[in-house]
């Protein structure tokens, strides 16, 4: 269900690029705005690279501001916001109904790429096959047209947004196979698959690189365009969440505004994610 929601949002807002350039030019004299202080962000490791870029862009405009970005996983992002341990938590999935006490701000849409070793002859799997592989129904690559080798499933840790979204979209009611190797960040998961010709895992589109191969899902390539077009269905929102009982600090609010501004959304796009407005 959530996949559809995000698609609509994405479709809604395209035409901002021109304004962004202007804004950037207008804010060349940074001293004047007097924005200073520190905000901390924690949570999703999938959102983290994007947050870093956004923070860097923001700080180049407001040199007295300090944006500390750290990881921990989406669960940590939610609890950090709930506990006020961070100003903003990053969550790489839909926020569940029972995760209360927080305001949610969607900042981008991301696809989740199903990845295998580059040498793996398999290039395309259906959602059903992926589900069967991750739940232990299919255990050999030959069952999906590959070599006669046992499949090594690599997954993320409990609390990961990527895992949460992946399970929502792909796994349905099925449980992850118990023998799965567990890695606690997108990066280490990718390294783990890159090192194992029989491995399969999943990472943020932004975390895709040429050490691994992103599989087609139902014959659709995992690209931002395909996500945007609604053809690649394994996608999820990137959210910033904040504590709803305390107002955002001025700086945090300014950052959030920046992220959602044309300029911020440009950064989102440059990083290979999909804009939300």
């Amino acid at each position: 269900a959530c996949g559809q929601d995000t698609d609509e949002e994405v479709n809604g807002d395209d035409p901002v690029e021109e304004e962004v350039e202007d804004n950037g030019a207008a804010e060349e004299e940074p001293e004047a705005d007097g924005l200073e202080g520190t905000i901390t962000m924690a949570g999703s490791t999938s959102v983290q690279p994007l947050s870093e870029e956004l923070a860097a862009a923001f700080m180049s405009i407001h040199p007295d501001a300090r944006l500390e970005v750290s990881g921990g996983g989406s669960g940590a992002g939610i609890t950090a916001a709930q506990d006020n341990a961070a100003d903003l938590g990053a969550v790489s999935r839909e926020v569940a109904d029972d995760e209360t006490g927080i305001d949610v701000h969607t900042i981008a849409i991301d696809g989740i790429a199903i990845i295998v070793h580059p040498d793996n002859p398999v290039a395309d799997l259906s959602i059903e096959q992926i589900q069967a592989i991750f739940s232990g129904g299919i255990v050999n690559w030959s069952e999906v047209g590959g070599d006669d080798e046992d499949i090594v499933v690599v997954s993320r840790e409990e609390g990961s947004g990527t895992r949460g979204a992946f399970e929502d979209i792909v796994m349905g009611e099925e449980e992850l196979v118990a023998t799965a190797i567990i890695q606690n960040s997108g990066g280490s998961l990718r390294e783990s698959v890159a090192a194992d010709p029989n491995g399969i895992g999943y990472v943020s589109l932004g975390g895709l690189n040429d050490t691994v191969k992103g599989l087609q899902v139902d014959s659709v390539d995992p690209t931002a365009e395909n996500v945007l077009a609604g053809d690649y269905t394994v996608s999820r929102p990137f959210n910033y969440v904040s504590n709803d009982s305390e107002p955002l600090s001025e700086l945090a609010q300014a950052f959030l505004d920046f992220v959602l501004s044309g300029e911020g959304q440009n950064v989102v796009e440059e990083q290979g994610f999909i804009k939300v407005n």
Binding site: T40, A42, P49, R66, S70, G187
Partner: protein
């Protein structure tokens, strides 16, 4: 050759083999890390800020973070640790209180660092965030203090015990107070030993990761105050390796860490020799 002689030769060969194996393992690790890491190290690597979560750029903030964390941790742990050692060794005698402190320091020493991390997270990062700034160097340091306290206490006690008793009695018999005797006689003589223990605790702080993973926050920015989040070199190595998968950067950081540890061990060794000399 008699059987016992043959046994001896076999046994000693095996023992030498074990020693050779240990040395080989050490050299293999050091050389491997160095061979992949030294190539990364240059001025820019040391003095630039990281980009793309540390996959590019340098490690300067991590170096600064390490220095600050070590500095603050030692600044807090030294008086507490040395003070405890003085109290245990110079003021009280065997008894319940001493036993309790002994037991708790032993227990502290045994607690896995991840448990310190858990505690530090709940207590310093969340509960005391208005004071500590949440994830921050202060939170990390306070957690680090708890971790190295047993090391500092134990080593300082050892150093104090090495101060010959006749000197203490000589001073007290001159009608000086206990504290004066400690200040003027005991502490100066125990100083190299205490310093050695402090240097070794630097090693412990530099090498620690699990406790700081949950308390330092891992920000890549250059820390400006002690209430800013930060990361140490070890934490940086872990995050770069695990989050970005850029092993070359990780090896570069690893090489810096190993060089640092070698320097620390060397300093501690040199001081220890001085200590031995002083008391013989």
């Amino acid at each position: 050759m008699s059987k016992v002689k043959r046994n001896q030769i076999i046994a000693y060969s095996l023992l030498s083999l074990a020693a050779a194996l240990t040395v080989t393992i050490l050299l293999a690790i050091v050389f491997y890390i160095m061979s992949r890491g030294l190539a990364m190290i240059n001025l820019a690597f040391l003095l630039e800020e990281p980009r793309r979560m540390g996959a590019e750029g340098g490690i300067y903030p991590a170096i600064l973070g390490t220095v600050y964390l070590v500095g603050v941790t030692l600044l807090l742990a030294t008086p507490i640790g040395v003070g405890t050692a003085i109290y245990l060794n110079e003021y009280i005698r065997e008894g319940l209180f001493k036993k309790v402190i002994r037991f708790t320091t032993e227990a502290l020493a045994g607690i896995p660092s991840i448990v310190f991390g858990l505690f530090g997270f709940i207590f310093f990062v969340i509960l005391l965030r208005d004071i500590t700034g949440g994830w921050s160097i202060i939170s990390g340091s306070l957690t680090g203090v708890m971790m190295i306290l047993p090391v500092v206490i134990r080593a300082s006690e050892e150093a104090l015990r090495n101060v010959p008793n006749p000197l203490r009695e000589g001073s007290l018999a001159l009608g000086t107070t206990r504290w004066y005797t400690i200040k003027k006689i005991v502490l100066p003589l125990a100083f190299p030993g205490i310093l050695t223990s402090l240097i070794l605790s630097i090693g412990r702080v530099v090498g620690e990761t699990a406790a700081f993973l949950l308390t330092l926050g891992g920000s890549l920015l250059i820390p400006r105050t002690l209430f800013d989040g930060s990361r140490t070199l070890s934490l940086h190595l872990y995050m770069v390796a695990m989050e970005t998968g850029n092993m070359d950067m990780a090896f570069g950081t690893g090489a810096v860490l190993i060089i640092l540890i070698i320097i620390i061990n060397f300093l501690a060794g040199a001081l220890f020799k001085r200590l031995i000399k002083r008391f013989s």
